[in-house]
Amino acid sequence: MVELKNVSVTYSSGVDALNNVSLKINDGDFTFVVGSSGAGKSTMIKLLLKEIDATSGFVTVNGYNLSKLKKNKIPEFRRTLGFVFQDFRLIPSMTVYENIAFVLRVIDSPKKFIKKRVPYVIGLVGLQSKMNSYPDELSGGEKQRVAIARALVNDPQLIIADEPTGNIDPELSYEIVELLKGINDCGTTILMVTHEHDLVRHFGGRIINITDGEIVFDEIIGGINDEA
């Protein structure tokens, strides 16, 4: 669960990035966060990752009160999340398998479990044949699939996807969202930030629109699939 209560963020430069924002995303939800650049989407992501702190208000993610979370507890908190970034952020010196297994090694998972879990997750994103490839040898869509597999491998309660379709071909964008929808169907909460309105209209669901640091729209809309 994600909950923001009267959250404001003002940067040291004096810029008000978020202004008294309150929202609640329940477990198992799939939520799109939309807004133009500079609207406050990235600030919200940074807040949820505990990269920055709110100037005022409370942020709760997966049961962790981020306003009170101590520095040494941040790794533990982040292990309950999965991230997908626009620029994939795969480690170039590691193969697909290693990039995903790496997450489990960080949390000190048993070797046997890693050997079983990683190929399974790679299978879920349909990249069995690319298991030993390096990121440089993959297309944009494939790289994003690896990033999704990485986000999924430790079975997180929440996956935050920051413009996951921003660096891939438009036709592949639908596949990526389909993949995230499939993960959501299995119970994982998904929060996807995007500025691709076509994509949002196509899939529908809960849409939160942030403009100038404020939530100007928060409703559930029907997607094209639903209308059909």
Binding site: P75, F77, L90, S93, F102, V103, R105, I107, D108, N154
Partner: protein, 302 residues
Amino acid sequence: MMKLSGVKYLIDQGTENIWKNKMMAFATFCVLLISLLLVGASVLFYINIDSIIGGISNKNEIAVFINDTASFEDIEELGNNLSVIDGVSEVTFESKEQAFQSMMKSMPEYERIFESLGSENPLVDGYRVKVYDINRVTEIIDIIRGMNNIYYIKASQEFVNILMELRRIVTLIATAIIIGLIIVSMIMISNTTKASVFSRREEIQIMKYVGATNGFIRIPFFIEGMVTGFFSGAGSFILTLVVYRAIFKILKNNISVMNVIGLGSIIPFGKIQFYVLGAYLIAGAFIGGLGSVLCTRKHINV
């Protein structure tokens, strides 16, 4: 508490990273090698200069002349007292007869004068006291002065002062050079390590996002820096060994140089090789490991 397999993984990662980032690792290796060589060569140069000064000062003697009235037991007791003084390396008795003979030998042109003395020997018994610590000559003279049956003490105080001043200046200059080189080396190492870590800042960020602890991120960097530093230390040792031995051989074969600086004043490499090896390896591994860990700090706060 991390499992043993986790520790092994981190160590493996550290060593693997050297190969994966071989260009940066090589740059770090070279910078560390040069830095260690600069500092190492300066230290070796200093200890040799110090040893040469020490060698020269060892030739310095304090002549202690004994009162005529002293009995055989008194003379023996004085000898014992002299030899237990801290800083004294050797005490040799010279009877007045021996002193007379050596004087005659050293001044053959005055043979007639010596003959005119007949059986009369104007000299007195004495001890020749060798001092290994030149800094303590004045203090030792004062101690001897306080002993019984002392007739006269002769020591070239001027020579001692010159050597002490020389040692002081050499120590000051060497310390300044070594400190300067250490600072320059640290800047060079820090910049190279920073560049190495910067090139992998994204990797560090990813680690942070997936919940890696600071220790988990730092250990491979530490191992990587330490191993690279260790090899730099080994490389520095080999280069030092080759160059030192070559210089030693040249100087040893140059008799005129050895006459000035004194045979045995230059320390043979075999005598210090384990210290040099240890110092290089420890300094290399320590600087490499610590440098890497410190440089990750900036990127770890994500």
